[in-house]
Symmetry: C2
């Protein structure tokens, strides 16, 4: 005879919870029991409503691919205070917020939805590159900043985009985020490639002519 | 000006997720974005349904306090194959499954819903002790096993129950789980109190008369 298990609705809930990223079977069980324990009031029902609402309302912005919560274009695309001359290309919509938090960029964004990675079956046509070209054709953008990952796939995607944009928009400035030592990191923690790039991209800060 | 944040339905969802035990703000954000990314299909809506269903259906068994998923008594209480002579008292309904997995106990359970802990404002009347006394009054139970935590609050709760049961049911056998070395643990990993209890509870395994 099998040992007694939780009632079926709890088992189903645990099954969903353990599919969440970073949640193992033990955590899933703990979370499910916590949610259903009387002490949390209506937490379970309220959270279910929040999930449903987000799943129904949140969609990618048709222009840039960032999140929008009301079916229209996102808050960045509709903001007239944004600089339309300069477009920052990122891999994922989640890359937008870290850049926004720097408050150093006041242009608009374009989220590719990933990076070229043949091993994961992600080819250029799986990314929002056609949409990028269409946006650039409108002619307003003067500079594209490539803010992609500094790993092999990020570099490959950057190279591909440089080629596509070079062919189609010869006057467009294309730049890339600086690579080098991260803030607060000593030399002893930097890997070889980071140091190589930091040396390669060194900037003159004084002396001579 | 504040930096751009996620649309409001995502922020609300993150707010709920980070209240879950063991989930920090970073994990909550990661889980929310993962759930809403198109790649997971209808995962968000399906999970919301599972949460709602569990929250609506799961309730404590009126008899023993374990979980029931259909409004009736739990699978253990309704199982006629269970031994009605012997009742195992645990703190939480979640303590039932580990005991069930041993397959060493075929009696029924009584979940107190916690343990006496004045520091957390848990007094005897906050626990299902009245319900326990009522079950014992029916007269079927011959032995009560106290399977409470082996910490201060668990011991205090056990002492209190021994007193209550001694007054009301002088013929009832009251036992407690053995305390000693955990399986697979060497002496070098055992703390002082565990070793003290292991010595105190030593069992004769051979020799002499």
């Amino acid at each position: 005879m099998n040992p007694v298990d939780y009632p079926e609705p709890i088992r189903v809930l645990i099954g969903y919870l353990k599919r969440l990223p970073g949640i193992g079977p033990k955590s899933a069980e703990r979370i499910a029991i916590w949610m259903l324990s009387g002490r949390q009031g209506n937490f379970g029902l309220e959270m279910a409503r929040a999930v449903t609402r987000a799943a129904e309302r949140v969609a990618p912005c048709r222009v840039c691919g960032f999140f929008t919560g009301d079916g229209g274009d996102c808050v960045i695309c509709v903001d007239p205070g944004r600089d339309g001359d300069i477009l920052c290309v990122v891999e994922q919509p989640t890359d937008v917020l870290p850049l926004e938090r720097t408050r150093a960029f006041r242009g608009r964004y374009h989220c590719l939805g990933g990076r070229i990675s043949p091993l994961d079956n992600v080819e250029p046509e799986d990314l929002r590159i056609g949409e990028l070209v269409a946006r650039l054709k409108a002619g307003e953008v003067k500079e594209v900043i490539l803010a992609l990952g500094s790993d092999v796939e990020g570099e490959a995607t950057a190279n591909y985009l440089v080629e596509v944009m070079g062919e189609n928009f010869p006057d467009l400035h294309v730049t890339q985020l600086a690579q080098g030592l991260p803030a607060g990191g000593g030399l002893e923690h930097a890997d070889e490639l980071t140091l190589f790039r930091a040396l390669d991209g060194r900037k003159r800060i004084g002396g001579g002519k």
